[in-house]
Amino acid sequence: MSRFLAQTIGLLFWSAAAVWASEPKGSFPDGTNIFAPASTPAKSIFGLSLFVLAVTGAIFLVVFALLLYCVVKFRKRKNDDGREPPQVYGSNQVELAWTVIPVLIVVALFMATARVIADVQKAARPDNAIEVIAIGHQFWWEYRYPAFGVVTANELHVPVSDAHHPTPTFMKLLSADTDHSFWIPRLAGKTDLIPNHPNSMWIDPHETGIYLGQCAQYCGTQHAKMLLRVYVQSQDEFARWIQEQRQQATVGNAVSQGQRIFETTACINCHTVAGTVANGRFGPDLTHLMSRDTIAAGAAKNTPENLRQWILNPAAIKPGSLMPAMQLSDPELDALTTYLETLR
């Protein structure tokens, strides 16, 4: 019996390991793993989670062993004499023991937890912190950097924060419509974006790179494709990115037809291109559209074909998206796509 059990558990373990090894990892090996923290809040949580896992794991082993022992040792035997076992009604000492010990465990867990809550939620904001306002929309993210006058969408850029130059990013979280939740598992736990209820959170990524996440509070039809990317850059690269984003759109003659289409259709009701008549705020700011790797909140790569498809029929990429199909002719689509490609 116990050998069979051991074999079964071993088999389960190895098959799980095999599944894990065979999993396609893509270009982000640690992806969205909460156990691969790369920022102080995520690391504090990770430390606490190891402690909690150790305690709960120990409790599991003890109680599981008791259960297994009971089931094996006190099973009714084949040669049972048919008499009832001795009746035991309780024991104050034993019951006191398994009341007091859990209380002590709870006290220890609570103290450890309360400390991490204070560390994360009551952290002081240094003067050189980057300030970002993140606004959740159905179904995309708007980021505003008030200190720099920069507005972008879906792909958040922040500087790396190393021990020599700690530059954390403090975010104010707002919502334009329904509830959303900002979750980049490797950088911090999630915080909700709730209309009429501003929240805040902070991150200080320790390594450069791209960190993934997505909306973690059901916000409507396309909750699933409200993806998040955080680009953590070196101080210099971040400064350069800010510099580029502050420029107004450059407009050349060659694309005038596409620009005319853009500015004479419903596009400008929702989208902004700084320096032109387009100043809508319902959809993402397109001033530097080409500086982004993805469109449709990460649902597709930012390629000319995808862009064209997106304008033609957004539902093909993201059904339920609030971007309407623009009903343009093929030449108009080509011209419009060409214009958008100049927005660098």
Binding site: P24, G31, T32, N33, Q87, G90, D179, S181, D192
Partner: protein, 557 residues
């Protein structure tokens, strides 16, 4: 005197027509019939809710799958959650409470038989109203126009702005109507337990089943009332221009969360206390020992009832309540682990030194102990608020609460089905089919819900109709979906067993388990009046006293 010579004028009375049968069932106020109505009604919805879950799992079997549209997927999870909580779990537990409490406390019926019927029909029509949305809301689109706001229906997604048409109204009204049914049944249970006990049965001599259901009913009254109030507020918002949850006009989305979870978390205990009640009756009988530490079990139950009213905001650790409020709800949530832990230890102590018989009900109870242990420990993990900032709203949470509701509650429900089926039907179930059901369901459960924890740890949020490849989630989701089919097979065996045993099973006799509580002292199935003469009892195990006159319980209690 010879009776053969008497010729009756008609023989049709011997086999009442279908309409007569129907009339009897529809107009019944008998607690046993209402109990069975509740249970059958809930089983039908269990199958419906299970189909909805299967649709979701097929959609998630691989990334970027196109089995259903996002609109349909969102309706599936809304209907699955709402159905399973309000129209499966609560009615089925009410059904068992209705059927068993009067029998266990030596009464002839519930305190208010007609209120009992009212409660059932309100719940029944609530469920029908919810599903009428499929054809009654905005015409046929996808899966009709069922509600798509999620089972906790966070504002402002439920406002006219974001939820046009009537799907949300069907959801609101269904819960409003069934809520009144639940409250009336709860009032009835409280009154029955407090006022209808047979002579000799003091509160301290009542079966634990009655105690746990008493606390459960108290929680229903306290928890369902705020939900009902919130539904009325939502209706006012939607149709009369109130602004409780209208964030555009200064209303608060967070207030809805508080209203919902002050219902929602006690609701978990509303569902799990009856599960504890089943375990507290079944484990002693199949271990052949009295329950260990009865007074402590009662105390722990009452403690759970009180503490469960103060933990609701642990569902809201990520909404920005501030560090102090978070810390308070960490403490209250962790505290509830203590009485729950005491219960697990007391069940283990009941088995300790006994002679455990592995009949189907006991197998389900042992699996329950194992699974509820894990469910409790993952609950402790999430009670640590910072850990919850990562785990909350991810698939880890989905796995956790299914471990509670399926691994804990549904497993003990199956135990209860097998344990009391002989009493309710008078027939013995098939032990072979019962064990087949157990193993199929156990394998399916663990394939699905063990592996469901992993994508949560890897950052997969819940309620997404599809996901990106390359995040390490694909294989786990495949395994999770495979488990669903084992569970479905288990459920089919279970339903087959019930039907087969009802028509073909051996007669069970009045006391097949050599058990100790009063329901086993009357016929199977019990007559309408339950007991020919009202029993008088001296201890918690009246039938033990009867069977062991030399060594009765009342000498030791």
């Amino acid at each position: 005197m010879s009776t053969e010579s008497i010729a009756w004028p008609t023989t049709t009375a011997a086999s009442p027509s279908f309409v007569d049968h129907l009339h009897k069932w529809v107009t019944t106020v008998d607690h046993k019939r209402l109990g069975i109505l509740y249970i059958v009604y809930a089983l039908i919805f269990l199958v419906i809710g299970g189909v909805e879950a299967t649709v979701m799992r097929i959609q998630l079997i691989r990334p970027h799958n196109n089995f259903v549209s996002p609109q349909v997927f969102n309706r599936m999870f809304t209907m699955h959650g709402t159905t399973m909580i309000f129209f499966v779990a609560m009615p089925i537990l009410f059904g068992f409470a209705n059927y068993l409490i009067p029998l266990m406390i030596g009464a002839r019926d519930m305190a208010f038989p007609r209120l009992n019927a009212f409660g059932f029909w309100m719940t029944a029509f609530g469920g029908l109203l919810l599903y009428f949305s499929l054809i009654g809301a905005n015409g046929l689109y996808g899966a009709g126009n069922a509600p798509d706001v999620g089972w906790f229906a966070y504002a402002p997604l439920t406002s006219q702005t974001f939820s046009v048409g009537h799907s949300t109204d069907f959801w609101t009204l269904a819960l409003l109507v069934s809520g009144f049914g639940s409250i009336s049944t709860a009032v009835n249970i409280v009154a029955t337990v407090l006022c209808m006990r047979c002579p000799g049965m003091t509160l301290a001599k009542m079966p634990l089943f009655a105690w746990l259901n008493l606390v459960m009913a108290g929680l229903v009254i306290l928890a369902v009332s705020p939900l009902t109030a919130a539904q009325i507020m939502l209706l006012l918002d939607r149709y009369l221009g109130a602004h409780f949850f209208d964030t555009q006009a200064g209303g608060s989305a967070v207030i809805w969360m508080h209203f919902f979870w002050i219902f929602g978390h006690p609701e978990v205990y509303v569902l799990v206390l009856p599960a504890f009640a089943f375990a507290s009756e079944i484990i002693p009988v199949f271990s052949r020992k009295a329950i260990f530490g009865y007074p402590v079990m009662v105390g722990a139950t009452v403690a759970i009832g009180f503490i469960s009213m103060s933990v609701w905001a642990h569902h809201m650790f990520t909404v920005g309540m501030g560090a102090n409020a978070n810390t308070f709800f960490v403490l209250s949530t962790m505290a509830i682990a203590v009485p729950t832990g005491i219960k697990i230890f007391n069940w283990l102590a009941t088995m300790w030194g006994g002679k455990i018989e592995f009949k189907t009900p006991m197998l389900f109870c042992i699996a329950f102990l194992f699974q509820f242990l894990i469910a409790g420990l993952t609950g402790v993990m999430m009670s640590a608020a910072p850990f919850d900032w990562q785990l909350g709203n991810s698939y880890f949470v989905v796995a956790h609460f299914h471990y509670v509701i399926v691994g804990g509650i549904l497993f003990t429900l199956f135990a209860a089905f097998y344990y009391w089926f002989p009493k309710m039907s008078g027939k013995m179930y098939s032990e072979i089919l019962g064990k087949l059901h157990f193993w199929l369901f156990l394998i399916g459960f663990h394939l699905t819900f063990d592996f469901m924890h992993v994508p949560g740890l890897l950052g997969m949020p819940r309620r997404i109709y599809t996901y990106e490849p390359g995040r390490g989630w694909d294989s786990w989701n495949l395994i999770v979906t495979i488990g669903v089919f084992f569970q479905a097979a288990g459920i089919l065996v279970f339903l087959g067993n019930l039907l087969w045993s009802y028509y073909r099973g051996k007669d069970a006799g009045s006391d097949p388990w050599d058990a100790w509580t009063l329901e086993w002292s009357t016929n199977s199935p019990p007559p309408a009046y339950n007991f020919a003469s009202i029993p008088v009892i001296k201890s918690r195990r009246p039938l033990w006293d009867l069977k062991h006159p030399d060594d009765p319980d009342w000498k030791y209690e």
